[in-house]
């Protein structure tokens, strides 16, 4: 017996998403998701807005695609421009771009785990039983008590209302610890944004990013301002974030077996380690694909976007250099296009980056860290393709990136040029491939008579929350939802856990 289950809107992600599912009931009475559709619900048409503008505008306009990961759009645009202009970054410029992008990664990962995902696992009402001495928790309890006492119908907002199911963490101690971390993480993610602004001018939406580098020089005062904040963030990641993810994994072990998607993973590579631009440039986290366990190098020519089930009347099966974006609101079921690599749907994001780095040549240090953590958790590597595998990958990556930031600071030439002059060509084309916190991000730009002739963005959540393609093959999140057990279809908390493990960003995905 099948029935329909709709989660609309899917909140605690970035942007506008609805999830429509068909639920089947097994003979023992349990509900499972039989099929799912991810419906992207907000369109702005940024690619069309870019056409006919000055190419330099692109790194400002594309940052506005997303207020959670603007830096990665700025970087993708800068990379595409550097290629089109035929210029390279300065030594400082490259490192400063890395530091700004890395800071925003740390900000985004902390925000995602605590403020977007954790409320699916933590029992916030456990605060009412709190009797310890943590000042924040005591005040949280007092706050809720005051609101209840005054008869406030929205006592505890925005943490309530929520799905009232018996599926939150059972242990008071775990709930209290995670609530304390939630509050602490709010402060730490603000500090991570300060760190990004030290060289990025302001966040969200940095004005400092430019082709060849940034506008802010690395003075000793700036480097200290960054490093002092990095220390705090690193301590938080190691002392709080990693233990909290481990605790969540131990409290919800079933989620090693829920949320499995295709075994197709794609990474464009991120954080340049050489003062150059283009595919051969070595990156800290490497580019590549892993399909059914086999690593291969990246070939951007294999990327296509399909629109058969999307709200666009433009041609389907186009490489981004030839792509078009013509809206047709009555057509298809989602505002996302369906990107495919060699015709296949690909999962992107921290899990993909970790698995690609694990399988890539030179990935010894990645293998060592991943194997050690999985061994301590008693989980085989095959189970990384799961809700918990995605959360763990994000946390592991945060450790690596924070450590690398510390080294990058030492590699800066104090007071050295953060950028260099360049000129704009009459015609040209370039692509910028990088990784946003939530996955592979590409910008493709064609310059015609000093202006942008064509601009196409293929964004992480475009890959992950992709609708079905022209062959009817579901996107990775749609696939990951299939088979998810649902205890109560009226309050399907399990579906939200699966979707959020991908950290969707819909404003990005559709743009």
């Amino acid at each position: 017996m099948a029935s329909t289950m709709v989660i609309s809107p899917m909140t605690r992600i970035e942007g506008h998403l609805a999830v429509h599912t068909e639920i089947s009931q097994t003979p023992d009475g349990q509900h499972r998701i039989a099929s799912a559709r991810c419906i992207g619900e907000m369109y702005r048409g940024i690619e069309k807005i870019l056409q006919g503008r000055d190419p330099l505008d692109a790194q400002q306009i594309t940052q506005r695609i997303c207020g959670v990961c603007p830096i990665s759009h700025g970087i993708a645009s800068v990379l595409a421009q550097e290629m089109a202009y035929g210029v390279k970054p300065t030594h400082n410029g490259r490192i400063l771009q890395n530091l700004i992008q890395a800071s925003n990664y740390l900000q985004s990962h902390i925000l995602h785990f605590y403020h977007l995902a954790a409320l699916d696992f933590v029992d916030v009402k456990a605060i009412l039983k709190y009797t310890g001495n943590n000042r924040t928790l005591r005040e949280l309890r007092a706050w809720v008590e005051r609101a209840v006492a005054s008869g406030d119908a929205f006592a505890g907002a925005p943490f309530l209302p929520r799905y009232e199911v018996d599926q939150y963490a059972k242990s008071d101690e775990i709930n209290w610890a995670l609530l304390a971390s939630y509050a602490q993480a709010l402060e730490l993610r603000t500090i991570a944004h300060e760190m990004a602004a030290v060289f990025g001018a302001k966040l969200p939406h940095s004005t400092s990013l430019v082709p060849t580098g940034v506008t802010q020089a690395p003075t000793i005062e700036r480097i200290l301002a960054f490093r002092s904040r990095l220390l705090k963030i690193s301590h938080f990641i190691e002392d709080v974030y990693i233990p909290d993810v481990t605790t969540a994994a131990k409290s919800f072990p079933g989620y090693w077996d829920i949320g499995k998607s295709y075994d197709n993973f794609l990474s464009y590579g991120v954080f340049r380690e050489e003062d150059s631009v283009g595919l051969s440039t070595r990156t800290f986290l490497p580019a590549g694909t892993v399909i059914n366990g086999t690593w291969a190098s990246l070939d951007p020519q294999r990327i296509r976007e399909f629109v058969g089930q999307s709200r666009f009347s433009s041609a389907s099966d186009r490489h981004p250099f030839e792509g078009e974006t013509i809206p047709s609101p009555a057509k298809g079921y989602s505002w996302l296009k369906a990107p495919r690599y060699g015709g296949e749907p690909m999962e992107v994001g921290p899990l993909a980056r970790v698995l690609v780095a694990y399988a890539a040549p030179g990935g010894d240090w990645v293998r060592r860290d991943v194997d050690r953590v999985l061994e301590s958790l008693g989980v085989p590597r095959e189970k990384m393709n799961s809700v918990l595998g995605r959360h763990l990958s994000r946390a592991l990556e945060a450790v690596w990136i924070a450590k690398r930031c510390d080294e990058w600071l030492d590699e800066l030439v104090v007071d050295g040029a953060p950028a260099q002059d360049f000129s704009l060509p009459r015609t040209g084309r370039g692509f910028g491939l990088t990784e946003a916190p939530r996955g592979a991000l590409g910008h493709w730009m064609v310059i015609d008579e000093y202006k942008i002739g064509r601009y196409q963005c293929v964004v992480p959540t475009t890959w992950n929350c992709s609708p079905r393609d022209d062959r009817g093959v579901p996107g990775p999140v749609e696939k990951a939802l299939e088979g998810t057990p649902i205890e109560n279809p009226a309050q399907p908390i399990e579906a939200g856990r699966v979707v959020r493990s991908f950290d969707p960003c819909m404003a990005c995905a559709i743009h």
């Binding site: 907000m42 056409q51 977007l116 609101a147 302001k202 430019v210």
Partner: protein
């Protein structure tokens, strides 16, 4: 499918003696601490709706330090609906919105532009954002358009856009909803947390603030020229100009700086707890608080390539006067 958003009876009983005290309080007590310097501490309800937005203003809200986000959420405002931060999802979220609407007395914060020519381009639950907002606005005691998109249309409303994106003010005009004394614009991309929270606190405690009659921006936060108060103004006076993007010295005007047409507190308040801001970082102001922000294709943010292609803007466009 409606869920009870209140605590269960059993949970209430656990609160023990506190309830006895609480029973003597008036229902829905708004002010928690209503005395002296703490007069702004309220539990004013905020309903926050994201339209054609990038969530940047929501992220900027979380970058607040005075108050920090925990204090903000637990002492200053009651954030009864927020798509990114709130626990509620699916029907629970829509039910909470309905309930807030029934009870009224909230400040409605709108982030992002509204697709006035293509309503399907922004949908929340089973409703276009336009029809949802038209239901929510009349019950609000004030409407705050946060960020340049909500305030003025912003980049989604730029030349050549396909959705007919417009501002909250255009939406209210279209549906004949009264604007005067109700709508407040808090632009810049994103909004500065101090401007937003300061505005919310003022509205909660004192009512409608003094605003620019045309732009509806609170004069406290948007009354000063960025250019006039720029720390590099002395360079401008002496005609010493930065030569390329990344040049650490000189006025940034010849690189395209739009400080002269911008009215913000950036030179004083700076960004991200005051660690930096655009011009301090040698980055030209791109005019992100302006009603004209990014609107024209022939008015680039930077002047780098202007000698290479025809530009329709005039020097006066960049030097401004009040827009």
């Amino acid at each position: 499918m409606t869920q009870d958003v209140r605590f269960t009876r059993r949970e209430l009983m656990k609160l023990g003696g506190l309830l006895a005290v609480g029973a003597s309080l008036p229902a829905r007590t708004a002010k928690v601490f209503a005395d002296g310097a703490q007069k702004l501490l309220t539990t004013t309800r905020i309903v926050w709706i994201q339209a054609q937005s990038c969530t940047g203003d929501s992220v900027s809200l979380l970058n607040s330090v005075d108050p920090d986000p925990v204090d903000l959420l637990t002492r200053f405002i009651s954030l009864v609906a927020h798509q990114t931060i709130g626990a509620a999802q699916g029907q629970t979220f829509m039910d909470a919105l309905d309930k807030a609407r029934e009870q009224g007395e909230y400040i409605l914060v709108i982030e992002g532009s509204i697709p006035l020519d293509m309503p399907e381009a922004c949908v929340i639950g089973d409703s276009t954002v336009e029809s949802l907002l038209v239901r929510l606005i009349p019950r609000a005691k004030a409407v705050v358009a946060v960020g340049t998109c909500a305030a003025f249309g912003g980049l989604p409303a730029a030349e050549g856009n396909q959705t007919g994106a417009g501002s909250v003010s255009q939406l209210m005009t279209r549906h004949q909803l009264p604007i005067q004394g109700r709508l407040i614009n808090c632009p810049s991309c994103p909004t500065h947390p101090k401007c937003l929270i300061g505005t919310l606190a003022y509205v909660a405690a004192k009512g409608y603030p003094q605003v620019d009659p045309e732009l509806l921006t609170p004069t406290t936060f948007y009354g000063h020229s960025t250019h006039d108060e720029c720390p590099r103004y002395h360079y401008y006076e002496r005609k010493i100009f930065a030569k390329y993007l990344g040049d650490q010295h000189g006025c940034l005007f010849e690189l395209g700086c739009l400080g002269p047409i911008s009215y913000t507190e950036c030179p004083h308040r700076q960004w991200n707890t005051g660690v930096n801001w655009c011009i301090r970082a040698s980055a030209p102001c791109i005019g992100c608080s302006s009603p004209h922000f990014g609107k024209r294709k022939d008015f680039p943010f930077y002047r780098k390539g202007e000698h290479q292609h025809a530009v329709a803007y005039t020097e006066q466009d960049r030097k401004g006067g009040r827009p």
